[in-house]
Amino acid sequence: MAKKRSAVKDTNVKRQKVVAVADVDVQSSLLSIDDIKSIHSKINESSKNYNNIVQLLKQYDLIIPIYNNCSNDQDVDLKSRFLSLTLYKIFSKLISSNKLKVSFGASNELKLVCKWLKAKYDDFKTQLFKIINIKSVDDENDDENEGLYSLKIDSLDLLMKLLNLESQYFSPNENEPYFANLTYKKILINLLKTGELKQILKHDATINNYLLLEFQESYFNKYWDLKYFMFNELQDIINSLDNDTDKQLLVSNVLTLLKSKSIYNITEIDEITSNNYTSNPPLKTISNITQFNSNFEKSILKLINLPLLSNQYKSILLILHKRIIPFFNNPTNLMDFLTDSYNIGFKLNDISISILSLNGLWELINNYNLNYPEFFIKLYAILTPDLLHLNYKSRFLRLLDIFMTSTHLSSSIVASFIKKFSKLSLTAPPSGIVCIIPFIYNLMKRHPTCMLLIHSTSDPLNDANYIDPFNDLEHDPSLTNAINSSIWELQSQIQHYHPNVSSLAKIITQPFNKYNYNIEDFLDWNYEKLINSELSKKYKGELSIEFEKWNKLLGGLKEDDTYLKDYDY
């Protein structure tokens, strides 16, 4: 399939210039809508005219190259859409009259016809898949591709309708519950590799693929049986892919499906099968949540072992604890993945991955009794200079707040965290400093021993020989000896250039009367908010003017009377 498409793609470029001439011929050979109508009525009249189906199907061989050549002609769009619709009508009529099913004890001739029809029916589906897989040459011009878009969405709709029909009429025994999972699998295979790499959004690795979004909106989110069978088949689908691009597309597509909504509502498990797409699905199978969970689990594990893009990786970590872990039978299976990602973060010097995996890890530790050795050492390792510059710092601080809740933590560990944070504040932006000061305040309230960091009880007479005992290079927070040090760095922040930061830093010199600070108020600051809050202040009468008057603004190296000496225009 992939080969074929790439071949098509190659020819695309070559042909493009020739198209103008060729197009006219092809279009003229296309059947007009009236022709299609007449053929339709003929087929409806008598089974003798079934051969005309072939004629209709052959139209696709003409249409698809047109789209591959990226021409856009509203006439062709209309014709092809009408063609698909007509064929759907024909086949749906055939299916509902059971003409595609080899009935027991029928004559040989009838069987032959039936088989032939079935072959044509499969042919029809293949053509629809082909349409879905047409790669539009330039995605930039959405307007021009509108025809193709609607055609594709039509095809998807028709396929889903056929799926419904098949499930209804193709069951091996009459009225036995049946879901046409083979067709569904084919649909999924073709659907999940649609889209393009550049459609993958940078920030959360979801894909902006209209086909998939249509599928998600109209089918996937609504119907349980579709969800069930999707994860039933997903492993096979993943196995069947051999192309890296396809795999990445599949990951993004699946992520998009998962991200927006949780896959089912855990509190309403009983009503889960109430909404099904097919009319008579095998209820017994699909109501088996454990089975679903294990399928889901296997598929996800398979998915995360694919070669992921880095933003896909982060995105998976991001949704892990809410959208994935709750639907696992055995969430501990994710442990390896999470610990690995935690360590990868350090290796790649990208703390954000570690921070993100921490969320999932915490979920496992908290709810599934995961025993994580050297947890605080690993936490301490996250306190790198980058931390306070990252956007994920608030996420980390929220978690850290939870980890540090226990009052039974050794004060040497807490002190190490405080000291490290205050050291990081020396190179941090205001948003970072603003986060950590109340955080440290709360820690000190919770662990009053750590007040030693701002108020030493040692004898002032020994100050002359005082040497800071803190070991910055020590990795183990319980061995850094921070408890005997002081946080001069935070004291220096009292002279921070931003007046609010400076006044916030003053809290360490004031009596600790407040019960604690609500950290949430401080987490989400950034430069933009800081400036906007400054600019929102009103002018009240007086702007202080510099009274020192320089003669020149720039570039008087020899003269004293210059504002900025070392530069010139």
Partner: protein, 839 residues
Amino acid sequence: MAGSQLKQLKATLKSAGLTGQTNQKKKGKKHAQKTPNETRRADKEELLSKIREQFNPFDVKVTRNKRADAMEKKRTVGKPGISKQIGEENRRAAWEEKMSRKNKVGGLVDRRFGENNADLTAEEKMLERFARERQAQASKPSLFNLDDDDDDDGLTHLGQSLGLGMSSAGYDDDGDDDNEMDEDDFFSKKRGPQVDIEESSNEPVRKKTKAEVMKEVIAKSKFHKHERQKQQEATKAAVMELDDDFEDVMSTLRSTKQPRGSGITPKSEADIKYDMKVKEVALDRRAAPADRTKTEEELEKEKNDHLASLEAARLRRMEGVLDEDRVADADELDDDFWAGSDNEADGFKIRDSDNEDEANNESEAESESDSEDEDKDSPRNRAAGQVGTITIGGKVIKISSSKAASSIPCPQSLTELNSYVSGNDYRQQISLISKVFQVYQPRLAAGNKEKIGVFTSVLLDYILQLADTEFSKDEREKYIELMEFLSKSIRDLSEKFQEKFCSDFRAHIESIQKRIESGDSNTYPKKSDLLFYTVVGRTFSTSDLYHLVVTPTVILMTETLEFLKIEKNPTHLFAGIYISDLLLQYQRLSKRLIPEVINFLERAFLALIPEPEKVSYESLATREIPAKPCGSNLKPNTELPQELGVLKISEWNVTSESHRAHLLAKLVKTLDGYSSSVFKEKESFQEIALPFIAITKHLVKYHASTPAVPALLSKLQNLNKIARSERKPLRLQAHRAVAIPTYVPKFEENFNPDKKSYDPDATRQEIAKLRHQIKDERKQALREIRKDSQFEAREQIKKKKQDYQDYHSKMARILNSIQTEEGAAKNQYEKEKRQRKGR
């Protein structure tokens, strides 16, 4: 004590010796001796009352007062039952009195002496009455007392009073009569009583009838009317006479000649001048000694004082203390800019000679308004353009005419300014712009101030636009002149148009912020942004703790430092170094810590120094792994420039090795500046300096020959040594223990439980006392009234009941008597019947 109440009473009485055998010998002599009659009776009374109380405990009521009880005071004891009874009796008496007088109007009250006194006998009463009568007659004033005008009406005749009556009847119209009357009055007083006596002796005074009185009144009014008519006629006649004589009088008046027009002659020139002079002299200020010309030292001192006060205000702002008296300062500085334009050449040093002349003329034109002639002759003046004149109250004021103003527009937008200055080189633009300032001086016309305000903000836009434009080498001099001129103008005008400037600068800040947010390294930073930050720093006081423009600008700059991608982009590297240098200049006085600068300096060093991977990474603050060399790092053998020249903003995108070496040298200098001013006094100097020491150590290996590098290293190490020796553990929580508030009870010396109030203000105390009394009285009175009305109601009901009972008993009696009669009659009838039957 056992037994019934009666038995108990009997026993008590007996034990008290009041009943039974009174003269028992049992108690013997003691008792006998002590019994004179009187005392025994008193004793008896006392004993009885005691026993009464004892047997009737509810008659006595004791008020329980907590305070009084505590002080063991005697309790106040009342007998409500008895007092109630007394009240009842009084009320009944009053009631009976009232009822007895009910439905009776008038009547005589016998006030005769002793009428109600039962003690006197009839004879005594009569005697006493006689004595009183005689006394009264004796004390009565004599009839012949002249001064006595008692109740008598003076002389009367036929019931009409004489003399006095005449005056009251009123001849008030005539003055002569009045005098007479006075005399009459005088005499009447003296003579009156005599006549009275005579008259009264002759015939008795007869009371006048009503008809007579009315007649008298009518007669009197007729008489008055007649008098008035007479008077009027007389006046009329006099007026007629005067009218007749009028012509004669007038003719005589006309015939006499009078001296004419002496007062209204027009004043001569000399007089007018004289008057003017007088007035001027009157209005002149008194001669006063002129201010002494100040000596050099004094001027110096004055200037220093002014600077010191400004510095003190700045310090207060730096500490974040808000002060109110700042407003005056701006006005003080106000005039400098315009004064400069008056005194030629002072305001604008850089000025085209041509323009200077013109400016001179215009300013002359304004200042020398009096010497008209001179100006008219001056050919320069004509060249300068038309000058209009306005005459107000004799004074001739010259202004530059509207035509002159319209020839020089005041550009109100950047496009207008661009079209205004287009086609001129940079130097000519200076003269063009300063011409605008000349023409639109605020004092020349209303609205000019606003126009100039807009113009200056346009200038700000213009200077930023210029900053981004390229210029050729030949133009460089002129370009610099223009830029300096513009930035200086902006700086000078900022005092004048503060609010406008505030919003302008903030608008720029906002637009820069938007560009940063877009994250596009092509649109940010621009040269104009760097220049903008510099202009802000030069214009506003950057040391303030809080400043409406500076604070957001600093945030913007630090955000820039975070935003810059110095490893990839040479302009970013330059911009970063420039900004950190500028921030050093910003903080030269307040010395505030800027973490972003520390971060940036380290990154910049690592991006520039040769072989950065060899720096010991453990001590770095920005990374925990060895730094990777990037494209901008110097080669190990590159020499740093020995002497630091100026870095040109226009060459910020140069990537040559020597340029980068220059940047590194500049960076060394910047770090030097920071460590000797901003970092030096910080408690965490060691932590801040640690990475820089490592980097400098590394740098010394390559550039030991450049004096600045080893100097920086030794400086850092020295400072670090000092900081280490001075390091003490923090003791920030050594707060003074806050005392628990104590409330000392207030003791009153000379406390007296009876004293109600201790108010030191006597009058207030008095008032309070009275108020309290009034309240008490009012309460009592109300209570009395209530009780009275209750009593009355009770009595009325009682009376009604009584009446009812009376009526019914009466009716019953009557009925009874009738029945008896009937019965008797019936009996008689029966008797009669029986007798007849029996017959």
